[in-house]
């Protein structure tokens, strides 16, 4: 079965006065129908830019450089997202492609009632007011909110409620793909847990596919089926949650997983150094300056994302056949 969303060679950057600073470099990623794919990485690794690029919401100075993205719907139609004119894209949005933005706290217009903000897009998609209202109420119930919230203004709701309203709005048209960017970052852990459970429930109930962007390995462990680990604008490793958590291949994934606090009072091993900013990505493997297993080749040549067994990819010279055979 073909992937729901097929991303190939996607690059995006920041337009400077003379040149473009690349933030996301040649990302290849398949989002399978019905899965929850987590994209993790440190701040500034380009994961939000990736999400915004998928949604085609980049605003200057952010620019799309190259790549292709194909959205294949169940009914057999497929769309080349990057070539779609804005008007066609609007038809696609919310009906097939929804977004749960970073900073959900401020994502609702403070001067409009929730009802207006949930139903305006439904009405624009051709529903009647009654249908739109009914759908919104149903969507609110999916995230355990009462229908009377429709009458409130955003400032009358708590942070968790606002986040739920956003999720409800995003799923109200039963879209095929939901891109959720840092959806639990501003919330306390209890609310975070509930919301993630609700989101997983929505996936099961609506059969939606969710791409979840986060810096939090805990979120990924709780909700995702597969993980893409991003480092400095590139995918470092891709695999199932179990696979990556049990035996991370890429030294960066190993570092990330090593820095999760565990039960039993073991010392947390942090990663030395800090993530490079897009203005000075190192040559060769972008991780080489922090890598404990660095070899000469890492400084000269960027590793490609290569398959490493069933459903597993890693971009690291250590796992390339000739290096393995030398060792």
């Amino acid at each position: 079965m073909p992937a729901l969303l097929e991303i190939r060679g996607l690059s995006a950057g920041l337009q400077g006065r003379r040149s473009i600073t690349q933030v996301v470099s040649h990302v290849d990623l398949d989002v399978q129908r019905g899965e929850i794919l987590g994209v993790v990485g440190e701040s500034g690794c380009g994961k939000s830019t990736l999400a915004t690029a998928i949604m085609r919401l980049l605003v200057p100075p952010q620019v799309l450089q190259s790549g292709s993205m194909t959205l294949r719907l169940k009914d057999g139609k497929s769309y080349e997202l990057l070539d779609l004119p804005e008007a066609d894209l609007r038809q696609l949005r919310w009906r097939h492609l929804s977004y749960i933005p970073q900073g959900s706290m401020n994502s609702l217009n403070p001067v409009l009632r929730i009802e207006r903000q949930m139903t305006d897009i439904l009405i624009q998609h051709g529903l009647t007011r009654e249908e739109a209202l009914k759908r919104s109420i149903a969507a609110l119930e999916l995230v355990n909110l009462e229908p009377r919230l429709l009458d409130s203004y955003p400032h009358e709701l708590s942070g968790g409620m606002r986040q739920r309203v956003i999720i409800a709005a995003a799923v109200s048209m039963r879209p095929a793909l939901i891109v959720a960017d840092e959806l639990t970052t501003a919330l306390d852990v209890v609310t975070q847990r509930q919301i993630l459970q609700e989101l997983a429930g929505i996936r099961d109930e609506l059969g939606a596919t969710i791409l979840i962007i986060t810096h939090d390995m805990g979120v990924v462990a709780q909700i995702a089926d597969r993980v893409a680990v991003m480092y400095a604008g590139k995918v470092a490793e891709l695999g199932t949650v179990n696979g990556i958590f049990e035996s991370p291949l890429h030294p960066y994934s190993q570092g990330l997983i090593g820095s999760i606090p565990r039960e039993g009072g073991q010392r947390v091993e942090g990663l030395p150094g800090e993530a490079p900013s897009p203005w000075n990505y190192p040559a060769g493997c972008r991780f080489h300056s922090r890598c404990p297993h660095v070899i000469d080749r890492c400084r000269a040549e960027a590793p490609a994302l290569l398959p490493q067994g069933e459903g597993r990819w890693a971009a690291c010279h250590l796992y390339e056949p000739e290096v393995l055979s030398n060792a």
Binding site: M55, L57, P60, L89, R90, Q91, L92, R93, W94, R95, S98, Y99, P101, Q102, G103, S104, M105, N106, S107, L108, N109, P110, V111, L112, R116, D120, I121, Q124, H125, E146, P147, R148, D151, S152, Y153, H155, I166, A169
Partner: protein, 359 residues
């Protein structure tokens, strides 16, 4: 089950609306209280400031008169005259008593602000009321028009912030905004009024006409109003345009705008419901503030275009040290600014639901 939920929802919504109405009423009452207090404080300050100005108006006024008539100064007669008038104007009473009398007459005596010194026994109130329509007609209308034009223009410039045209518009607006209003007025008078002779540039209407309900008079009135209104509008409108542009740009960076775009709403809906509506709130407040701050500019315009408004009245009164009249004009300005601010304050909760809570 669903019906039950909906019924419950209906009830609590009604409760919420009642509570909301109470909040709005409380807000309005509080605003009105603040309004009355500010008005009183302003009147009081105005009263004492004028009384604290050194020099006795009667002395200056009558001294000028006798000197002007070229008579030999008769000290005793002059002093008797001054004493007589001081008594008429109640200027020999102690200051607190004068103040109480002034307030009492102003509030209970139907806005009796005392007679004018110069045009005695004409009431200053009548002088002000006779001039007021000119000032309101020219000044208030031009500010409102400038606000409408500036708000729409600024919203568009902000929305299209990256286009060449809107960058050019910003430069032009900035230049216009920093130009003093009298320079614009003088430029219009010189070029439009005299060099090119397109529009009349002086007086309220053509000199040979009498105020009456004829088309000739009304059209003369309107053509004479264009230049003074235009000078006011250019400068103030440029300010409103820049203000609205800045507000739009800051709103365009908000998360809720990204979300609205992500939803796939049409650009017009995003502009109307998400950007313009939110940027409008501070812009409405700005209207009240600008109205207050630009009264001075209007005085200059009235003098330049020889309009019989409050500005010219004030300038005349100042030259003759007619403190009662000056005070009446100042009082009127304070009253107008405060009332406009009150109206804007009362209108804000309609635009911004957050104000209903926090005020």
């Amino acid at each position: 089950m669903t019906a039950k939920i909906e019924a419950r929802a209906g009830e609590s919504a009604a409760e919420g609306r009642d509570a909301g109405r109470r909040e709005v009423l409380q807000y309005a009452l509080r605003r009105f209280g603040v309004y009355l207090f500010t008005l009183w404080a302003a009147i009081t300050v105005a009263f004492f400031v004028f009384r604290l100005v050194p020099g006795d108006p009667m002395n200056i006024l009558l001294g000028n008169l006798t000197r002007a008539e070229g008579r030999q100064r008769d000290k005793a007669a002059e002093e008797a005259l001054i004493a007589h008038y001081r008594e008429i104007f109640g200027m020999d009473d102690p200051l607190p008593l004068q103040y109480v009398n002034y307030l009492r007459k102003a509030v209970l005596g139907g806005l009796d602000l005392g007679p004018s010194f110069v045009e005695y026994p004409a009431q200053t109130k009548d002088l002000v009321f006779r001039r007021m329509p000119w000032t309101i007609g020219i000044f208030t209308t031009s500010v409102l028009l400038a606000w409408l034009v500036g708000t729409v223009l600024g919203a568009l410039i902000g929305w299209l912030q990256r286009s060449r045209l809107s960058q050019l518009a910003v430069v032009i607006s900035t230049l216009l905004q920093i130009t003093p209003v009298y320079l614009v007025a003088l430029g219009l008078i010189i070029y439009v009024g005299y060099t090119w002779r397109i529009l009349p540039a002086g007086g309220p209407y053509a000199r040979h006409l009498q105020p009456e309900w004829t088309w000739e008079f009304i059209s003369s009135l309107l053509t004479h109003a264009i230049l003074p209104m235009l000078s006011n509008m250019i400068v103030i409108g440029a300010g409103f345009t820049l203000g609205m542009r800045a507000l739009m740009i800051s709103v365009l960076g908000e998360d809720y705008l990204t979300f609205a775009r992500a939803k796939g709403l049409s650009p017009f809906t995003v502009l109307k419901d998400y950007a313009f509506r939110n940027a409008l709130i501070p812009q409405v407040t700005a209207l009240a503030i600008i109205v207050g701050a630009t009264l001075n500019g209007t005085f200059i315009i009235e003098v330049l275009f020889q309009l019989p408004g409050l500005g010219t009245l004030f300038v005349q009164a100042m030259g003759l040290r007619d403190f009662n009249t000056m005070q009446a004009v100042v009082l009127f300005s304070i009253f107008a600014v405060l009332t406009l601010t009150l109206i804007v304050d009362l209108a804000l909760p309609l635009l911004d639901p957050r104000i209903r809570r926090t005020a």
